[in-house]
């Protein structure tokens, strides 16, 4: 037994024990939110198996535990990316210009549900949802309005779009072309992560196989034509929001990534050609150290998978470039201003976790589309953190904490065990189809709810320190404008009357032929959007071939 080990035991059995006997600890067991047991104290004994050079290394070098870039935030701060987009294209354009003036360095578009699901604003199924959770885009005309006066070679744009991602990307390319910006110059991201739609977010249209084909069409097309585009943002964030714990979030995100990479390789693409353009997003939940450890473990595990499993040679293939999002499910409607503090914690987790872009939620988003004041405060939170706190002055500042290093190892081990299990099932697509992933997430979500019920998990304002019922009517909340839906319906109607019908028919027929001919669909989709074919019309051509997917209801 080492001297340290015997010292530790002595401390535990004498000094600590005597204190606990006099005044017991606050609870019988301490654990992270993912259920990893937490001891009173961590020492070098807990990381005795680690090898600094192998497991941590240096920023910008394999296995990237300490950061994906050599100088990290000393060179360039993270991108402060706020999510906006509501109502009409004009309003979204105004909000974007405002955010750019305020120093925001990247745009992020939220689309309404009909746009995400391939329905035009005048489709009966879209009723009540037009312009509600994001901006309504029916055709290229709306996209042109959104980016009016915003040169696409000066901004990077992230689009939260999945099932209809090829259509929206095609529109972005067309807007660029009309501004004189070649597609080779465009920078930004399409979320384009359909697998997590089947397991977490529910915005899928087509069955899994053709959905994957569409996603991979973007990867393949951009590889040749839009080389600076981040083709997929593989999202753990939504998996977490659906109820997964930190370990599951990491494991299922990487399992999705593995599935995409295998599909791309099956198309004959070389891993080092496409992998550098995949990016990732992970959630910031409640447990500060667990989240930071998760981000560190994620970089290391991913780099090892890329190198060992996929034989990546280009270091850029091994970089887990991440966007961190504040988990809206941690926000509480009761005493809503408390959310400002929670969101500050999220931003801190993101910065200590070494993300390339950070999103901060708005404190009022549990009620409605955020107000301008709340959106500004969310951005200011990041600016205060970046410029006033010193958190960005050195790289990976929590490294070397016995606790954080222990958790990093533990999370990596546990996530790797999940990946082995999923491999044994035949891969992520099979694991999803069998209902396994859904069950795992649901069990975690129920466990979390039961811990809230029992008071074991404390949520301030909700199950402890409640105030008398707050009156949300007194808050200044942005209300979506009821006039948006009729206006947008009118617009799409007018567009159909205005455009050249021959071009539209020809564009849609070419798309039909491309689907039939198993071609990459991007060129045909670009042609169709330039003819002002609508999101609904283009999606309808695909529906005719593939049908709509209905998830099995299994409870």
């Amino acid at each position: 037994m080492s001297e340290l080990e015997s010292d530790y035991k002595r401390w535990q059995d004498t000094t600590l024990k005597r204190t606990i006997e006099r005044s017991p600890e606050r609870r019988a067991d301490f654990a992270t939110e993912s259920g990893i047991p937490v001891k009173a104290l961590y020492t070098p004994l807990d990381v005795a198996g680690s090898d600094y050079r192998n497991d941590l290394g240096f920023p910008g070098e394999f296995p990237y535990t300490r950061g994906v870039y050599p100088s990290m935030y000393r060179g360039q701060l993270w991108t402060m990316r706020q999510y906006a987009g509501f109502g009409s294209a004009e309003e979204t354009n105004q909000r974007f210009r405002y955010l750019l003036e305020q120093g925001s360095t990247g745009l992020s578009i939220a689309f309404d549900l009909p746009t995400q699901l391939g329905l035009d604003s005048d489709d009966p199924r879209a009723e009540g949802a037009v312009g509600r959770v994001g901006v309504a885009v029916d055709s290229l005309a709306d996209m042109e309005t959104i980016f009016e006066g915003i040169p696409l070679d000066r901004v990077s744009t992230s689009m939260t779009i999945n099932a209809t991602a090829p259509i929206l990307l095609a529109m972005y390319i067309a807007v660029g072309e009309r501004q004189g910006v070649a597609q080779q110059q465009l920078t930004g991201t399409t979320q384009n992560d359909i697998l997590k739609e089947f397991i977490a977010r529910g915005t899928y249209i087509f069955p899994p196989e053709p959905s994957l084909r569409l996603g991979l069409d973007i990867v393949e097309y951009c590889l040749r034509e839009v080389p600076r585009w981040n083709t997929m943002n593989i999202a753990g964030y939504h998996i977490r929001e659906a109820g997964a714990d930190a370990v599951q979030e990491l494991a299922f995100t990487l399992a999705d990534a593995i599935a995409y990479i295998e599909q791309a390789r099956a198309r004959g693409l070389a891993v080092d050609d496409f992998a550098p353009r995949l990016s990732y997003s992970l959630g910031c939940f409640r447990d500060l150290f667990e989240e930071v450890a998760k981000f560190r473990a994620a970089r290391r595990l991913f780099a090892r998978i890329m190198k060992d499993r996929f034989g990546a040679k280009d270091p850029r293939s091994c970089l887990l470039r991440t966007f961190s999002g504040s988990c809206g499910s941690t926000l509480v409607s009761q005493q809503p201003l408390n959310n400002v503090v929670r969101i500050t914690m999220h931003a801190l987790m993101g910065a200590l976790g070494g993300h390339q872009a950070i999103h901060t939620a708005c404190w009022d988003e549990g009620y409605a589309i955020p107000s301008e004041e709340a959106a500004t405060l969310a951005l200011r939170t990041q600016q205060i953190l970046a410029y006033e706190s010193g958190v960005a002055n050195t790289i990976d500042p929590l490294a070397g904490s016995y606790y954080v290093e222990y958790l990093t190892n533990e999370i990596e081990t546990r996530a790797a065990a999940y990946l082995e299990k999923i491999d044994a099932m035949g891969g992520m697509l099979r694991a999803i189809e069998s209902g396994y992933i859904d069950r795992e997430i649901r069990e975690s979500s129920i466990r979390y709810q039961r811990a809230i019920d029992s008071g074991e998990t404390v949520i301030v304002g909700l199950n402890r320190y409640q105030a008398p019922a707050s009156d949300d009517e007194q808050l200044e909340l942005f209300q979506s404008d009821p006039a948006v839906e009729p206006r947008q319906k009118e617009r799409v109607g007018a567009l159909r009357a205005r455009r050249d019908p021959g071009e539209v028919v020809a564009g849609l027929a070419a798309l039909d032929a491309a689907i039939e001919g198993k071609l990459n669909l991007m060129p045909a989709v670009i042609r169709a959007v330039k003819a002002y074919a609508t999101v609904g019309e283009i999606s309808q051509v695909m529906r005719r071939h593939w049908g709509e997917y209905r998830a099995p209801v299994e409870l």
């Binding site: 009909p114 977010r201 009761q334 129920i446 019920d453």
Partner: protein, 134 residues
Amino acid sequence: MGDKAIRVLLAKVGLDGHDRGIKTVVRYLKDAGMEVIFTGLRATPERVVDAACAEHVDVVGLSFLAGDHMVLAPRVIDGLKKRRADGVMVLMGGVILKRDVAALEQMGVKRVFPPGTPPANIVEFIKRNVTQPQ
């Protein structure tokens, strides 16, 4: 109250895919011995009304998190009335502002549960308020 299990139809109406909350409610109601049918995502108001009548449920629970409740919930309520199924208790949950709650209750929604409601309260509410013929 009879010995027969309370029958509940839970539905996601509209395009929104956030089903964590409603799936949690499914579990709690089942654990409390109720018979629960869940529509899955993207049910139409018409399908919910049809299912509620065909399955002779005591309760219909609707979950909304995308702000479309004032358009879609009335269609369920009116549909139930037209089918003379207005004895079915309609409950709602999700992100619904207080100013909408009064209007919904006026239309016949028995209770709107806000975010953060302990699921056990929903179980209790249903048990207390459903009266079944013997």
